[in-house]
Symmetry: C2
Subunit: 142 residues, 2 copies
DNA sequence: CTGACTGCAAAAGGTTTGCAAAAAG
DNA sequence: CTTTTTGCAAACCTTTTGCAGTCAG
């Protein structure tokens, strides 16, 4: 779990700093989180850390492959640990709820994209907009 | 093509204004466009139109079902005519290129989401991030 | 006429940048 | 000691909002 994340950074010429460690831990702790939420989490331990450091750190962590992000709706992106199970976001455009499902459901689809377009999908980065079961039901009642 | 778009608006209690007509025409003309691009297009005809009108108009047009939007990457969303063929966006995270493919490739996937999660996908709103064929090749050369 | 719609300017949200000080190796 | 990284403040970009005037019906 707590891999040699510092190795990964060092190998790419990056330095090890408490800020980077804290951001990475926050991503792992929160599972899904926006930069703002990560800031709050990090500041529980180190109140002096700045938002711009969060952004710069996430950029680095993403570059070396320790985290990924996905765009869920209009607002801020959410960041995930790479160690987490890959998942797909289903975003309900009516109630704004987000549910995660296993990537299994998309296996064939992803294969099709690879075959047809030579496109290599970043599985953890897929978000599908639509309407969730709850909101579908609610609509039927009208 | 030039349907009774005014009917659609009127039926929902909205008024017909030149701005709404121009924005709708711009969406149809441009195919894919961000609010800013739509503004530019509209201003070719009516220079006084304001950006906030574009936003408010798009909201209305989307509500009555005359346009849809999809999130492509970090930046601004792009709007499409509903009359256009539904398509899925493949966004390359390396070169930022966007290609559109037919929704056929996703039929089974969408069916799976419906079965497993009761989730009704808004097909024209799906964007898939990853790496395009060109960038995959380029990477192999290194 | 009356309420919906627009333009304008200001605010809000999210992200980026320049710079000097601090810290890593 | 050199170079990266950080904190801070300001800039930036996109979107939203309040308000007074305008226009569609």
């Amino acid at each position: 779990m707590a891999r040699d994340w510092d190795e990964v950074l060092r190998d790419q010429g990056y330095r090890i700093t408490p800020q980077r460690q804290l951001v990475l831990e926050a991503v792992n702790t929160l599972g899904h989180a926006t930069p703002e939420e990560l800031l709050a989490e990090v500041q529980k331990t180190a109140a002096a850390v700045n938002l711009s450091t969060i952004y710069r750190t996430l950029e680095v962590l993403e570059q070396v492959g320790l985290v990924t992000h996905a765009h869920i709706g209009h607002g801020a992106p959410t960041y995930h640990s790479v160690e987490e199970d890959a998942h797909i976001h289903l975003v309900c455009d009516t109630c704004q709820d987000v549910q995660s499902i296993s990537v299994d459901a998309a296996e064939l689809f992803i294969q099709a994209l690879r075959d047809k377009a030579g496109f290599e999908t970043d599985v953890s980065h897929v978000s599908v907009h639509g309407q969730c079961a709850k909101c579908m039901d609610r609509q039927k009642l009208l």
